[in-house]
Symmetry: C2
Subunit: 415 residues, 2 copies
């Protein structure tokens, strides 16, 4: 037997699960209190739906499910006759929660209040090369608002997500925010052609990693006009321009007004507990974002803790009717590892106590345990061969205390 989990997946031990459950419950409760609704979709989705979902690089990372029975036999026969291996699979494991949400919306919109405010906390799968902090099975925590273009949606998502982090004891984080339409307008103003902006953004997105010089070099290599690249380098040379400076150079300021109003009301709701800053360099990878994009980061930890944005065209592509949408996703696994590694104490944790009994006392001991469960989580254990070793083991596993049935009422502390 292979005792390890399959590559890129994890077994979670009791102490880890306690924290994972606590984080998930805290996030879910925060979202529910804020009037969002918990929904759930299957892990398996139709292969074609996944393929058409604009998931960018993630489309290459889909775990595919083999056909079964006659359909598999047919596909294998086809392959033997020179057919395509794509025929082997008709379903796949979802690589995110946005495509399933889109399908869910199309399937159930008449049963929802509009705009629909949805919570999803669930597993997703990507066949990535596993490395620290990047797994093949992991949990995402998403909230989305479907069916409204209002800038209030962005503000609300930011505020509610931030509240979940505050409830988990996170402090000193900040939310970077941008609008892709503003970034594109700035880049066009510098002389990049409108139909090349996706490629420019891909390079621009690497600013964090390779710096302004690196971005400029890459754009030159890609053959962009020297003047435009030079202009961008100058723009990035100093501090990135703020919204008011961007306003000066753009003809159309509607998107700027919108972003400014989001930032203003998000700051009002933040009430100084966290910061919201405009950041012209924020791009985010997904192909489907159409406007606002945002990311949460903490000065204490590298990389983003969460992120999201507006994707007004994605649902329409699937259901043939325009439905604006915006979402914010918390990187659950990142949150978990930060909290676990820093020795986070769960404020609501109940203490675990062992009640040790001899076989003939079992039923009486079990009744005694019921009384103790008002205050403690109580595990029943038969009197072990080596009590000392057994108690050591309980101590290592975080048990708070023990008592031997029939010996004393008192709970003896372990430490």
């Amino acid at each position: 037997m292979k005792t390890n989990t399959v590559k890129g997946t994890n077994d979670w031990l009791p102490a880890e699960m306690k924290l994972r459950d606590y984080i998930q419950n805290t996030i879910l409760e925060t979202y529910l209190k804020n009037g969002f609704n918990h929904i759930s979709t299957p892990v398996i989705e139709d292969a074609e739906n996944l393929d058409k979902s604009e998931g960018g690089e993630n489309l290459n990372l889909i775990f595919k499910v083999l056909k079964r029975g006659d359909k598999l036999e047919e596909a294998v026969k086809d392959i033997r006759e020179g057919g395509d291996e794509k025929e082997l699979s008709d379903m796949g494991l979802r690589y995110d929660l946005t495509l399933p949400l889109t399908r869910f919306f199309a399937n159930n919109r008449d049963k929802l209040v509009m705009p629909a405010k949805c919570i999803q906390i669930d597993r997703v799968y990507r066949a990535e090369r596993p490395q620290k902090g990047r797994m093949r099975e992991f949990i995402q925590c998403d909230i989305d608002i479907l069916g409204s273009k209002s800038p209030c949606c962005e503000t609300e998502l930011i505020s509610v997500t931030a509240e979940a982090l505050l409830n988990l004891g996170f402090r000193d984080f900040r939310i970077r925010i941008n609008d892709r339409r503003i970034l594109r307008a700035v880049l066009e103003g510098l002389g990049f052609a409108a139909d090349t902006l996706d490629s420019v953004c891909i390079s621009f997105d690497k600013l964090d990693k390779i710096g302004a010089e690196g971005v400029a070099a890459e754009l030159t290599e890609k053959g962009f006009p020297e003047k435009a690249v030079e202009g961008l380098k100058n723009l990035l040379a100093g501090e990135l321009p703020g919204l008011s400076k961007v306003r000066e150079v753009l003809a159309d300021t509607e998107d700027i007004d919108r972003l400014e109003s989001i930032i203003a009301s998000a700051k009002e709701l933040a009430d100084g507990r966290y910061d919201i800053v405009f950041d012209l360099s924020l791009v985010r990878g997904q192909g489907y974002y159409t406007g606002t994009v945002f990311e949460i980061e903490s000065p204490k930890f590298r990389g983003a803790i969460g992120g999201g944005g507006r994707y007004d065209n994605l649902i329409g592509k699937f259901i043939g009717e325009s439905v604006p949408a915006v979402g914010f996703s918390i990187g659950f696994e990142r949150l978990f590892s930060i909290l676990y590694e820093t020795g986070y104490t769960i404020p609501t944790a109940r203490k675990q106590v062992a009640l040790i009994f001899k076989e003939q006392d079992f039923a009486a001991a079990a009744k005694k345990a019921r009384e103790l469960r008002g205050e403690y989580d109580v595990s029943l254990f038969e009197f072990p061969k080596k009590l000392g070793k057994f108690l050591d083991r309980l101590t290592e596993r975080g048990y708070y205390g023990f008592t031997v049935y029939g010996e004393s009422e008192e709970i003896k502390l372990l430490s």
Copy 2:
């Protein structure tokens, strides 16, 4: 786009998820209070592990995951050269939580307290022909005790599982219990050969569905000795024999003593709230059970709500060292549909209220919503085009009330 979920899977709507979350949390909390530990394993397992897991018919129902990259190319090349289609897959979706638990135990036993008391509440997958109450993706709620042969384990699992059901408001259920070794001894006593008992049990297991005559006919057809079949028919003709009657006909009564002590202490812990009855006809399908088997049923609903048993040899087959084990599984989906269809009211449910605002008031309204969240789950909605229709929709979706920001402080009831 295909808007339906893939065959045999479900989207779960907000009202359904509220109940599903409540059931899961109630079961999990009950199990945690009883000193069991929540663990989690991946949905994907190694294909060979699954194949060797004695899952009986379930092995034919495994969803297999296609290999990726070079390995897939190699497998496809092999197939074109006449190779086996089994090469196409290296992993599969788990069909139950017992095989993953076995692997988990082998992988982590040095990090657990022994005997290990584990909780798993998670999704499993079976490529069955979907029908009412039988899905391809569904949730199981299991508790298992690994590493002890004591009859106290059986009693504890019965008592703790029953407590979860009581906490969910279930009443009038009863637990049927048997020991496969007793059943086998009785059958041997009737003249069935020891090495044919698996086949006899498969027919015997159908007693509920086809009756004593049907079982006898099937056994005759299978070619079993006439005298033995006749003896079994007579045994089943009247009421099934109780433990004391079985004791009279068996030479070795050790297993009977053990079962009697389990029933006695389980009854003591039940305290009249539910019943535990010996039932010689209880078999249960899984190949891996070695001794005690049990099932929960309610007179109000056909079929079992949960079941389990002792599987002392399964872990040993995987890790080459004997580790006795026993488990009890609640059929979550069955529980959910019973409670949902009977209009179960969640005792701890918070009321959901809509706070309707005009765009310019958003930040102030969001602050007002915070105050209301002490008592209610509050959803923010922008003032809709047609307020009347919108309020109707809120009512249909189970909202308790609404208030319009700036108009009045009062929450107006919807109904």
